[in-house]
């Protein structure tokens, strides 16, 4: 059991990139008779930065992020990131993040604007280590939104929006991360490389906005996870 990641370069230059992933199943089922491994988690958010238009000087931005001293990862965690509009008060750019030099204490984040217009973007991150001793107060909600049709980038309809409600309210707005998917194989075409941006997270839900970074029109759905406290 696994998945196939389809990854598209939205950059105007060739190069290299790997992929980090986190899979979540809201079940405590055992594996081969053994309890599922527990995890140590660190959700967080950086400060927004302003990006120039795709292809212009300033379309890349960088951050140095720390997990904080209380987490105490015993090995290098897997870190995934997702764009968000938190603390952004101008046009939100569809930034694409790259985690670089992940370590036990933090990581560097580089991001490139995939959008044809300038704007600001922020990022939520989630660091995950398979280990005991994680924060016992965290709760997880997760789900999918159905596929929608995206126009070719730069044409009307290259942005699509979903409104998502959590199964029950969190005590404070949780960390929310999203990734495009193929709606469990129900799309009538392969999923496009849509860039998801998490908008306006509240205790009750969020708005998922996504922009097609692809040169072809087509559908894409999204998966999401939310991690926070419920009391």
């Amino acid at each position: 059991m696994g998945f196939t990641a389809w990854v598209r370069n939205s950059d105007i230059s060739p190069g290299y990139a790997g992929l980090s992933w986190v899979a979540v199943a809201e079940t405590s089922d055992s594996i081969d008779g053994k309890a599922v491994p527990t995890v140590r988690l660190r959700p967080g958010i950086v400060q927004p930065q302003h990006f120039q238009t795709d292809g212009f000087r300033g379309d890349w931005r960088r951050w140095a992020a720390s997990y904080g001293s209380r987490v105490g990862f015993s090995s290098i965690p897997v870190v995934v990131v997702s764009a968000t509009n938190q603390n952004v008060r101008v046009h939100v750019a569809a930034g694409v993040g790259v985690v670089v030099r992940a370590s036990r204490v933090g990581f560097n984040l580089a991001s490139r604007n995939s959008d044809i217009g300038p704007g600001a973007c922020n990022f939520t991150f989630l660091a995950v280590e398979t280990a005991s001793g994680g924060d016992p107060t965290l709760f997880v909600d997760s789900g999918q939104v159905p596929g929608r049709y995206f126009a070719v980038e730069n044409y009307p309809g290259d942005w699509q929006v979903w409104v998502v409600s959590f199964a029950e309210p969190f005590a404070t707005p949780p960390a929310v991360l999203v990734t495009a998917d193929n709606s469990n194989g129900t799309l009538n075409s392969y999923a496009r490389a849509a860039v998801g941006v998490v908008f306006d997270v509240t205790t009750d839900g969020f708005t998922l906005a996504a922009r097609n970074s692809d040169l072809c029109a087509g559908p894409a759905g999204f998966s999401w996870i939310a991690i926070g406290r419920v009391d």
Binding site: M1, G2, F3, T4, A5, W6, V7, R8, N9, S10, D11, S13, P14, G15, Y16, A17, G18, L19, S20, W21, V22, A23, V24, A25, E26, T27, S28, I31, V36, T38, V39, W60, V78, V80, V81, V96, V98, V99, V100, A102, A110, S111, R112, S114, L126, T130, D135, F139, V140, Q144, F170, T179, A180, D181, N182, G185, A191, A193, S213, L215
Partner: protein, 72 residues
Amino acid sequence: MASFVNQVTFGSGTVPGGGFSASGFYGDWQTFHIPFQPFMPSAAQGKIRVIASASGDGVPDSYHLAPTSSYR
């Protein structure tokens, strides 16, 4: 209802960098086949959510990219 974190199954990993062509050229898409085993229980089939984002580890700074991803 949200699930208590210790009652949720997590899998995670990083796959090493692959080469991409510039956007719009042959080779601008790459695929990564990633097994969950042994992390995800079979009972969770169809209910697993995957969050993925790019990693630049192992890639020289001047060559890393910002690819977007989807999965199936």
